[in-house]
Amino acid sequence: MPLYLNEDQQMLHDSAAEFMKGEAPVSHLREFRDKQCKDGFSHALWKQFAEMGFTGILIGEDEGGLGLGHVEAGTVLEEIGRNLTPSPFLTTAVAGVEALNAGGKALRDQYFPGILAGETVLGLAIDEGAKHRPDQIGMAATREGNGFKLDGKKQFVVQGGSADMLIVAARTSGKAGDDKGLTLFAVDANAAGVSRDSARLVDSAMAAHVQFDGVTVDADAVIGEVDDGDTVLRRLLNAGRAGAAAETLGVGAGSMDITVDYIKGRKQFGELIGSFQALQHRMAHLYSEMEIARAAVLKAQQMLDEGSSRAELMVSVAKAKAGRATALSVKEGVQMHGGVGMTDEYDIGLYMKRDRALQEFMGDANYHTNLVAEMHGY
């Protein structure tokens, strides 16, 4: 498979680009931020996502979806990133759907129709500390009757406050740090014993701290196999990380574009500042980094779609490389904008804030760099 979008993928990309730019450009993010919306995204827009078919990209055709792959999901995510569009797409339609794809038919029948209709939102209850450490999950799920009782705390559950269902990773055996013993559960977000405390993040998205106090679920809530949740979790994480890398790439590309435009129009000392070699070389270096990141992200998505045994390695490469390139893009963006880059009026700062949040989502560049060393055995 050549490493560029085929005709169908390009068409999907073009329609996603037109849609985000038309329906949810940066001004849309500002509007939802300024009215202090408690969800941090528009439910009407989420329904429009569904009408465009986006929410069904990773859902099989026999279940009403489009039956497409991670490359296609990535083309939508890149445009979400470029326009800073707030939506539950990454957590629900990408990572959440991918976890449910690994589960039983009953769960899919329960949740896919709502996702396809743009009515259901999923939250991912994975992290327990400030840094992403899925191998250190300690939250307990103890057997009780026909099901399980959940006790513990999760944080950084993006859009967790407005979620209908939470995918919860908990321990059914062993202790934090063990390879086995995890189980994933689909938990009704309004179940007795679930309390959610949402906070607005730096990028104006909402994320919840979630407390589970003796929350009982029956055996049907298990996604995949008991004690073998690692299999489902990996699938969820791979999809989420590749998706986050694609969205990050869009943030970096959007930030670079507005900065190039800015330095082409801003004059100092009687010259356009874009004609200064000091800025030209830094911008050309950034271009090079973004191109390499783009290739890495597409390669990771293709490998996931092919089921390659090296996909996980490339996903970490993509998350780290896209993270570093985009961090450079937003930092250079603010600096090259000068004083106005520090004002709320200009968009460049919004790109910087979104990048920071995406860096932490499912592992930052350092986390994935360490994983790459481990996968290489050193």
Partner: protein, 397 residues
């Protein structure tokens, strides 16, 4: 079996039968490469391997058969490369004639020039060098001053070239000369002549690596005939249009040098962890070096994806014409950083410059050699200028 599968099977069998065992051992030094030429010397197996490959046209598998090539399609050429790699067959011939002059002649040469010059290149009979840079004309190559004056049946050449790789060992030179002093880019010609001509002298330049392929080359009233037989002009393309040829060739050269970034796909950490040492967790026990090596793994794997994407988009006509400049920039910068880490991993042992254990200081000499990557074939700064102007369209072109 498809035609390509059949071709693969036949190629593998032929290579197995014809590649001498010595040519399937890894190279241990630079003198294991075969450069051919009038004064070539050969180690065991080298000449046989060159001759059988040249007879099949497989020193230049994708050139047309009438010019000494193999006439293979792109897919067949790729299969040949894969099968040679699988059986560990060495390249039969290293040659600037193949890498650089050949593509330029195939693109710009007349039929008579192609017939005259290409087959000896394919057979490794003539060793070529490239006369581009001059002491005052590095990055600003088009400011070159070596003059070629029209004297009726010949040109008279005077001037000096520098960084002429292997000029002291080359038989012929492809050389940029100034044929019009009043024009900068439109006064340059691309000429071919014999290094044995009267008035040509060369002097090797010793580099910081203690070795060098580079020379200074002097031309003192060198007479270059206008023709080497009917229709075989010594000037490629047209007089005063040599800059077009040079630009085309530089594109080739830059793509070639950029390959350094994807070289050594093996993880440095995996390669050196045991040598450096491991902690009780099995991790490389210098945490900062481990982190830097893991970052390098990411750079290399990401750049390999970039190289694959560049190749795919290039073939499909989808990439920007200035994209080779970005590949050259990124590839050479990564390669330099990689060699810094290799030196750090080796510690004091790779500081040895002349010992047998260090294979004559090979690691250190290679490290120093890579510093030229971001200078030769256009500096990183020139690449960044091209990206700024031609891709990002920043002002002040």
């Amino acid at each position: 079996m498809s035609d390509l599968e059949k071709f693969r099977a036949e190629t593998a069998a032929w290579l197995e039968a014809n590649c001498p065992p010595e040519m399937r051992e890894p190279m241990t030094g630079e003198d294991d490469a075969v450069w051919g030429g009038r004064n070539a010397t050969f180690k065991p197996g080298q000449k046989e391997w060159l001759d059988v490959m040249a007879a099949k046209g497989w020193t230049v598998p994708d050139w047309p058969k009438e010019y000494g090539g193999g006439g293979l399609s792109r897919a067949e050429t790729k299969i040949l490369g894969q099968e040679m790699a699988r059986l560990k067959c060495r390249s039969p011939l290293s040659s600037f004639g193949i890498w650089m002059l050949g593509p330029a002649l195939l693109h710009f040469g007349t039929e008579a020039q192609k017939k005259h010059f290409l087959p000896p290149i394919a057979r490794g009979e003539i060793r070529w060098c490239q006369g581009y840079s001059e002491p005052g004309s590095g990055s600003d190559l088009a400011s070159l001053q070596t003059s070629a004056v029209d004297k009726g049946d010949h040109f008279l050449i005077n001037g000096q070239k520098i960084w002429t790789s292997y000029a002291d060992k080359a038989d012929w030179i492809f050389c940029l000369t100034r044929t019009d002093k009043n024009e900068k880019h439109k006064g340059i010609s691309f000429m071919l002549f014999d290094m044995a001509s009267e008035g040509v002298t060369t002097k090797p330049i010793v580099l910081i690596s203690g070795q060098s392929a580079f020379c200074e080359t002097f031309f003192d009233d060198v007479k270059v005939p206008k023709e080497y037989g009917e229709g075989v002009s010594s000037v490629v393309y047209e007089v005063n249009k040599g800059w077009d040829v040079a630009k085309y060739l530089l594109g080739h050269e830059r793509s070639m040098i950029s390959g350094g970034g994807s070289e050594g796909a093996t993880s440095l950490g995996a390669k050196f962890a045991d040598q450096v040492g491991r902690d009780e967790m099995g991790r490389l026990d210098d945490p900062m070096l481990r982190a830097q090596m893991a970052e390098m793994d990411i750079e290399v794997l990401a750049f390999r994806a970039m190289a694959e994407r560049f190749g795919d988009t290039f073939k499909a006509g989808l990439c920007h014409p200035a994209q080779p400049n970005m590949m050259k920039y990124a590839g050479t910068e990564i390669n330099k950083r990689r060699h810094e880490l290799i030196m750090a991993a080796g510690g004091s042992e790779v500081l040895e410059w002349e010992s047998d254990a260090s294979n004559g200081g090979m690691t250190a000499r290679s490290w120093l050699r890579t510093k030229a990557n971001s200078i030769e074939g256009g500096t990183s700064e020139v690449m960044l200028n091209v990206i700024s102007k031609q891709i990002l369209r920043l002002p002040g072109a």
